[in-house]
């Protein structure tokens, strides 16, 4: 199996859609890569693949090589700066038009996922993150079956569960936690996304989608709580346009001054707009969410290694 030389496999799951599975996967991947690990991202959301857009590699196509498919590089390793390689595989790369609907029933999706797990030539790699669609159906059953059967002992590190704070979301995510219990996939921890929004004008924090729901849920299910991620429109802009995050003067998060982040980068004055994917990790260093993910990543690495 093409997964043979991967050290750790991490699933990103959520019962609920739109809670930020793909954006959490993106940030975990960037964060792991920035801390020197080689990372691959496998997008098994077949009817709504988001990873190509997230990494700004929508135009990329997958190349075939003897024995399998080659994943699409997001950036290459840079040992000098301690940055690991980052690559991605998604059904999005195989579609003809970006607006084309993928109208597939279950068995077809199952076959595709098996193929994704067996035919992608990842080679030697530290982490494989698997981004999933919402729910507990065909994709998830197939993933669980294949991984539990074929992964080496300890290779399947477990699942990171993503939720948003409101009760409507945690109600669905609890079902996903029960799915992990039933399939005996270990839970690495819960991340509460979209927890609060800080008004850029007056710095008032509003809990748009409530607060604390993820933490309470983690406690109820006796699984680790990895952290709380606020809404940062600058991150959305970074993904949408490639603009380097900009913060007003005096934005200090965890003792780090983010208003200076602009100068820290390449020295250009105001948010440069380049859509070059290789710079994504570099620009992400200037995002207010980066320190939060640095900590979460450390926790995950400690938990699985």
């Amino acid at each position: 199996m093409s997964l043979a030389r991967i050290k750790h496999i991490v699933l990103v799951l959520s019962g609920k859609g739109g809670v930020g599975k793909s954006s959490i996967t993106t940030q975990l991947a960037l964060s792991l890569s920035l801390s020197g690990h080689s990372v691959g991202v496998l997008d098994v959301d077949l009817t709504g693949p988001s990873m190509p857009r997230m990494f700004n590699i929508e135009d990329a196509k997958v190349t075939q090589a003897p024995g399998g498919w080659l994943p699409v590089p997001v950036h290459v390793a840079n040992p000098e700066k301690g940055v690991g390689e980052l690559r991605c595989m998604s059904l999005g790369f195989l579609l003809r038009g970006r607006g084309d609907a993928v109208v597939w029933r279950g068995p077809k999706k199952t076959a595709m996922i098996r193929q994704f797990l067996s035919d992608v030539l990842w080679g030697e790699m530290d982490y494989l993150l698997i981004d999933t669609p919402p729910g507990t159906s065909d994709e998830h059953i197939s993933l669980a079956e294949t991984l539990l059967k074929e992964a080496k002992p300890g290779q399947l590190a477990g699942a990171v569960i993503v939720t948003t704070p409101q009760a409507v979301a945690t109600a669905d995510v609890k079902k996903e936690l029960n799915f992990c219990v039933k399939t005996r996939i270990p839970v690495i921890g819960v991340i509460e996304n979209m927890a609060g929004f800080v008004c850029p004008n007056c710095a008032e924090c509003t809990d748009i989608f409530g607060k604390g729901g993820g933490q309470v849920m983690a406690k109820d299910f006796d699984v680790p709580f990895l952290g709380r991620i606020p809404i940062d429109p600058q991150f959305v802009m970074l993904i949408e346009t490639g603009r380097r995050p900009e913060y007003p003067q005096g934005t200090v998060i965890n003792g780090e001054d983010f208003s200076k982040a602009l100068q820290k980068g390449s020295g250009s004055s105001t948010g440069e707009v380049t859509k070059e994917a290789s710079l994504l990790a570099e620009k992400y260093r200037g995002c207010s969410l980066e320190p939060i993910f640095r900590e979460i990543t450390q926790d995950i690495v400690t938990a699985v290694e």
């Binding site: 859609g17 024995g67 279950g106 669609p133 065909d138 409507v168 850029p200 959305v236």
Partner: protein, 339 residues
């Protein structure tokens, strides 16, 4: 094994194949199975050597015998509207409940919601009827009534424990959706709103093929402003085109957030590519409006209350009202008359 991305089944073929009684298989479906319910069952190249071949080949072909039963059940339902979005978490269920509450403000109208999100049902919680169960009688299953003129059907009512995971593959989900249409006593109803999970897969195909015979008014699309979301919604509109479902309109949710302290408006999910309005124009479908983010909508959903009844002065209410009226106009109805 050398890689192969086999030519996908023609979309039209998948859409046109109505669901039939599923043959009892003796072995799991092999890879590249044409589907035990499809026209090619038992006859495709990949069927050679499959232990199920004979079973699939002899399974009944032709129209589903249950379709006339479904049409009879739904004979009293005036309008059937699907709520769709390729993307999850954009507010399909929230919008479905708001729409239902809005329609139900007129006491002479009856509204039903059918929740086809099998793995993540949200409607019962949002309607405040999470702990209800379904009553089954000789004549069928009765929906759970939220008010005298607002009924709901969801898998959540059938789960032994609230947080139980529904670990089902496609065919089983299809079976339940069929039961919701065939067994439930919807009765005389003005509107039946069908809430769906994200994507373009089993649930959507089933709803479409099972309801086609009794007539679908069309679908309303929900999106959020950013391109990551529009990308998936574009796929859903493509699906509707191919399946022959009329798109009644597009509504953009979570458009802008007004800070409760300083009233500064932030574009949290910024529409860098023109948002819902531009997509509607590009696809030639009606744009029904933008609904701003209001934390009270989410709170009303968490507590199972009607946002529509509680906050009639908020900007979100006014925006929603416009959208609801716009949608009603598309299906030739008049709702929420001006005072």
């Amino acid at each position: 094994m050398s890689p192969s991305l086999e030519e996908p089944e023609p979309v039209q073929d998948v859409i046109d194949n109505p669901l039939k009684a599923r043959p009892q298989l003796v072995a799991p479906e092999p890879e590249h199975c044409p589907g035990p319910e499809s026209e090619k069952a038992g006859q495709a190249d990949s069927c050679a050597g499959c232990p199920n071949q004979a079973i699939c080949a002899s399974a009944p072909k032709g129209p589903d015998p249950d379709l006339p039963l479904i049409a009879a059940r739904l004979a009293g339902v005036q309008h059937k509207v699907l709520v769709l979005s390729g993307k999850g978490g954009v507010g399909k269920s929230t919008f479905t409940t708001l729409l239902a509450h809005a329609f139900a403000t007129d006491e002479s109208r009856t509204v039903g919601i059918m929740d086809t999100d099998i793995c993540g049902p949200s409607i019962p919680k949002m309607m405040g009827v999470e702990d209800e169960t379904i009553h089954i009688s000789n004549s069928g299953w009765s929906p759970v009534w939220v008010t005298d003129n607002l009924g709901v059907m969801s898998i959540q009512f059938m789960l032994p424990n609230r947080d139980d995971a529904v670990i089902w593959r496609g065919p089983k989900k299809n079976g339940l959706i069929k039961k919701f249409l065939k067994e439930v006593e919807w009765g005389d109803m003005d509107f039946l709103l069908v809430d769906t999970p994200p994507g373009t897969s089993d649930e959507h195909l089933s709803v479409n093929s099972l309801l086609k015979g009794s007539g679908i008014d069309g679908a309303i699309m929900v999106t959020t402003p950013q391109e990551v979301s529009l990308l998936d919604v574009r796929k859903e509109i493509d699906f509707c085109r191919k399946a022959g479902i009329k798109v009644l309109g597009l509504v953009e949710n979570m458009s802008g957030f007004v800070c409760p302290k300083c009233t500064h408006e932030s574009q949290i999910f910024r529409a860098t590519t023109g948002g819902g309005a531009a997509l509607a124009k590009e696809m030639g479908i009606p744009f029904l409006g933008e609904v701003p983010l209001d934390p009270r909508i989410g709170m009303a959903c968490d507590y199972g209350e009607s946002f529509f009844d509680h906050y009639p002065d908020s900007p979100a209410y006014k925006a929603l009202r416009r959208v609801v009226k716009g949608l009603a106009k598309q299906i030739g109805e008049e709702v929420l008359p001006d005072d």
